[in-house]
Symmetry: D2
Subunit: 400 residues, 4 copies
Amino acid sequence: MAIEFDIDRDVSEIARRTADFVRDTVLPAEEDCHGDVHAGPEPLRRGLQKAARAAGVFAPHVPQRWGGLGLDLRGQAVVFEAAGYSLLGPLALNCAAPDEGNMHLLEAVATEEQKARFLAPLAAGETRSCFAMTEPSPGAGSDPRALATTAVRIPGGWRINGRKWFISGADGAAFAICMARTSGEPGDPGGATMFLVGADNPGMKMVRNIGTLDRGLFAGHSELAFDDCEVTDDAVLGEADKGFEYAQVRLGPARLTHCMRWLGVARRAQDIALDRAVARTAFGGPLAELGMVQQQLADSEIDIETSRAVLWRACWELDQGRSGAQHTSIAKTFVSEAVGRVVDRAVQICGALGISEDAPLASLYREVRPFRVYDGPSETHRWAIAKRAVRAARERGGVR
Amino acid sequence: MAIEFDIDRDVSEIARRTADFVRDTVLPAEEDCHGDVHAGPEPLRRGLQKAARAAGVFAPHVPQRWGGLGLDLRGQAVVFEAAGYSLLGPLALNCAAPDEGNMHLLEAVATEEQKARFLAPLAAGETRSCFAMTEPSPGAGSDPRALATTAVRIPGGWRINGRKWFISGADGAAFAICMARTSGEPGDPGGATMFLVGADNPGMKMVRNIGTLDRGLFAGHSELAFDDCEVTDDAVLGEADKGFEYAQVRLGPARLTHCMRWLGVARRAQDIALDRAVARTAFGGPLAELGMVQQQLADSEIDIETSRAVLWRACWELDQGRSGAQHTSIAKTFVSEAVGRVVDRAVQICGALGISEDAPLASLYREVRPFRVYDGPSETHRWAIAKRAVRAARERGGVR
Amino acid sequence: MAIEFDIDRDVSEIARRTADFVRDTVLPAEEDCHGDVHAGPEPLRRGLQKAARAAGVFAPHVPQRWGGLGLDLRGQAVVFEAAGYSLLGPLALNCAAPDEGNMHLLEAVATEEQKARFLAPLAAGETRSCFAMTEPSPGAGSDPRALATTAVRIPGGWRINGRKWFISGADGAAFAICMARTSGEPGDPGGATMFLVGADNPGMKMVRNIGTLDRGLFAGHSELAFDDCEVTDDAVLGEADKGFEYAQVRLGPARLTHCMRWLGVARRAQDIALDRAVARTAFGGPLAELGMVQQQLADSEIDIETSRAVLWRACWELDQGRSGAQHTSIAKTFVSEAVGRVVDRAVQICGALGISEDAPLASLYREVRPFRVYDGPSETHRWAIAKRAVRAARERGGVR
Amino acid sequence: MAIEFDIDRDVSEIARRTADFVRDTVLPAEEDCHGDVHAGPEPLRRGLQKAARAAGVFAPHVPQRWGGLGLDLRGQAVVFEAAGYSLLGPLALNCAAPDEGNMHLLEAVATEEQKARFLAPLAAGETRSCFAMTEPSPGAGSDPRALATTAVRIPGGWRINGRKWFISGADGAAFAICMARTSGEPGDPGGATMFLVGADNPGMKMVRNIGTLDRGLFAGHSELAFDDCEVTDDAVLGEADKGFEYAQVRLGPARLTHCMRWLGVARRAQDIALDRAVARTAFGGPLAELGMVQQQLADSEIDIETSRAVLWRACWELDQGRSGAQHTSIAKTFVSEAVGRVVDRAVQICGALGISEDAPLASLYREVRPFRVYDGPSETHRWAIAKRAVRAARERGGVR
């Protein structure tokens, strides 16, 4: 074993098929939703997923048992980047947030019965899902311990009350994984439990869809109310009071899959900028020959390559079965900021075209900003990274 | 005479009135257009302008002869910043782009007859206008010399042909100031002429409104076609072939008034971030006590103060009757980037709220990005700044 | 009164004389100390000051009563920048740190007797001085309240004990202004007193000169020990227990004069870079025609102009008799970082020459780095800037 | 084969031994040269290399045939980083620049005779060497094609004339590899030849040692004159006129080994900062609990991890026998800048201590700045990176 950057032949093949599929099928479909995937119609999703299945690229992250291609995180890194080249690509491959992370969580924690009921149709693209953790201020946000939604014991089950916010994909989801406090007070480090709540539960209500800067996630982000929402005991995902631990099980890889998909966005933006720099003439030659443009193009190549390397590193850590918390925090923070820089430079290089809706750049620009907030804002990750580094420094005691 | 940062008492008074007016009248009106001023209805504009007139803050930049308050650029800097606190503020005061710049240009170059016909109603808010210079690639953009629209002599007038793009405010404008080449070839440094073209001229056609990242400019940005558009001799603004010179007359102050208005946007974003940092609790205290948040708040204060100082400096140069080209380029480049940073930090501090449409930040974020492109992208200004510095270095010959 | 950037005619004249003096007399003298002003010989100082006096530019900041030119801070801003073009310039004009700040402090706080004894010879360049506040960890540093040096009452005077560190100019100084705690404990916000301690006091000992990155300050930085150092009552500067307040009297303007001098350093570095960009050919033309070089040159022009504007603003605040704390913090933070960027870019443009001692750039590069630490590190200033902004936000109560 | 970040067991073991050796033997030796390795005495070098041999860590990059450990570039990446923790580490292991790169070049290009004469003693640490390519302006610098030193045919050999500058390690080197133009004119892309010139050749003269910002390279940087320097035919390294190609053979890996060693410097600086943040108290707690310090610590962890990942990627490319030009340019540019940021932050966190010579940080700060200039300045690499990206964009023709 040694340091290797070879891509497994099977993974390469899937990635190549994915790139072809995105180019031939997904990019042309982008016009069907006019850059507003939030409102993207269900037939579009169904059609794209059917095509992905036909192209042999459907559900690359899902175990073969559930009809997927069974790739590990490194394999996903390669394929999801190719899929992310279009905002619709991950939807087509059924590897978009939040479903992709939920599949991973269910596979890791759910009972066989729960898997059959919730995971199987989700993996097949027959249903969608959502993950209901974030709450409006002063509830769970950057600091998940502020969790304020409660679930109290009732005979044979639980009664959930609380308000959830920014719940991606909730509109039309078949079920929610709802995080509620089953012991302790807001601010306590433990005491959370995850519940599987069906869309048909009358106690779970869609309050509204939240307008956001980004428009690229199928069904957008919604506000949910849990008002005396009663569930039976078999709705508990894993064990009671272990919700924060399971959240880590979900969030570690989920952060990385976000990075993979957004890296595809960055590559798309850079390709558009390169094409523009080649085609557009100013000051007596193509933009591509102007030093300030070259600097931006080079910086974006550096950002993309560096993002990929540090992302693959984190994937490898998790594939080894390690927690990889420091590596995922570093990758998430760096990649989210690098991707933002790449798209920003592409906008600048394309000028007026970059800010018009004639090119997809304005859309991509809106998409990538929230990435520095979602899944833990950069500040929270930096705080955690520093804390771990300081702890390690204390442990080595001044001598390396 | 010496270095002074005192604000003239009259200007202070107008600025105070403007701040009150924005707070009491304009901010509440924001909901009427749901952040989409591009589509903002004409009655909204009329109503706000009427209110501004009643509040004694209408047309602060317009000479008193035409019903304005007659402020010089330094006075405008103070008042426009207060107006810019809302995206609707400049519209209300009738000092929004592109009308404000067009009034300045007409005042400087037009004949008395042209002033009576075009400037008087424009200054009074009875009409709107547009400035038709930018063309789709490979025409006039960052490099204005690439001007491709032509005007050829016909008996008693001119016939204009060409395509214009990203023409702000064109939809519904009473007239356009159209830049066309009357001599030379695309790439030549001279040979442009400005024409006043009425909206009723059948040769000038609205092709479409262009969707853009920003949504805060009344009537948005449009594409115009000049197809055998015939105008009479009195449509020439100033002298023939002097268009590029007049463009500088317009663009110098126009860059600065952009900076003034956007500085108000930055102040607004920072105020929202400050309020959030005070109100939102995380990790055991208000956000405002977290070091990483303090750093962002401080950096934004620095950006705002520094922007204001360098902007005032450039205004003073122009008020002295100097070209101030180096100072306006420096101010435009610095302020446009600083404003972008301020809004970006505010989004980050506000987290999910920052990217939702529940707060105005997402809107402001979209607004400020194009500022680094409009009125000369940062790269063009940097190139010009460096060129002037290099020329000065050659002239001093290595000895200061 | 209004916003003005005119430079007073008298100030202009002194600045012109200073620029000429620096060019003709000071720059040629730089070779005499080989970039190591720390060790710069006393005759060099004497000679330069004599020449400055002859050139009519000596002690521009000193009241005319003490033989100076009596400029206010705005005047100093213009003249000190011209002086700072050479690291030896401020020494020549007797306006270098720490003497310049000490003169200001003595003028503001000392008794007439103390002025005659300490200020008069200092202003005349006959003596030098130091300001003994900073202490080695865990004493007074970024956090001055950690002051650990003590002064206890003895009959007719005080006995001082403590250790001081990084005391600029101490080696050879005729006297020290020593800050010691006369009440309270380390960490308390008050209780400090300033003492004038003559170099002949046997209780004050030079421990060593501290080697540092910077080499441009006459006599460098030293460590001092106060071991049962006894002083009489007339050694108290101002009133007892008011030391922290007086420190602010000194530090506010001292931060700005630092900025002024370093701005001269930035201008010097940029001029060297410009000359190099004009003279050096690569890739088929002068460096000055390469876009990436132009970008760096432009960014440095922007940094210099912006620094000057924000610095002048802060000077004006203090000249009005206001505390100007927010403005001095902003100016100090911004200018120290901007100056660092300018010199860094100049090094990069000059390449190998930039890092060799054949050009003065390597020296300047070493000089400017500590500026982000001296007189309050950027972090402390940012913390203070944010705190003030947050306090103002709380006071306006969410409505502007 | 797949993406792997495992470190080979043998390499791990050598890296562990290296870390121990650096900690126990090299760090204590740092005081012997007072941070000035340029002037570091020969006995120090001999002693350290003897100790490294005893510790089993000598010459990790050298083929076993010549007494080394035979690591490939990925192995070197791990071990050189450990060695780089002290500026003396690479010297001790005989893997410092320029010898390490010269060994690689000789192994790749030299005849067996040349290897026996030049490579064998160099690999054993018995001699040192230098690489004489860079010339003072307007000769070969960022743009190697400007090569102005000439070698003309004489019977049985060549006569070399020219001036070389910034030749690292030249003082005391047993031989130089001198690049001279054997055909074409300055500016031509080909026509260079490499010559092996013994130190005893009377035509090669040391002009002077050049003072530089950095002080960490044994024997420093010198200026050399070739005045009618005659060499015999067997002095030609490889084939005539192929010098520029061989330079790439040397520079590709040499850039990466620079990165490896400097990454060790970054780790050292970050460890010092972490220790300081843990030990130093301010504002009521350890620095490590202040958000702005945490941000800097986190950013440096991110910079280090990201640098390592992108560096390993480039090493793998070269280990596969590919040119890896894009990857080495990206790694060199990113790592050189990241390392600079890490050291800069460490200085800031340590405050006055950081800029004093009491801590090694001031030394490290001086060392890392030139890294952005040596081996191709960032601008040249960015230009090359952009060019390759643009070429690829042209080739794919707008479709990915």
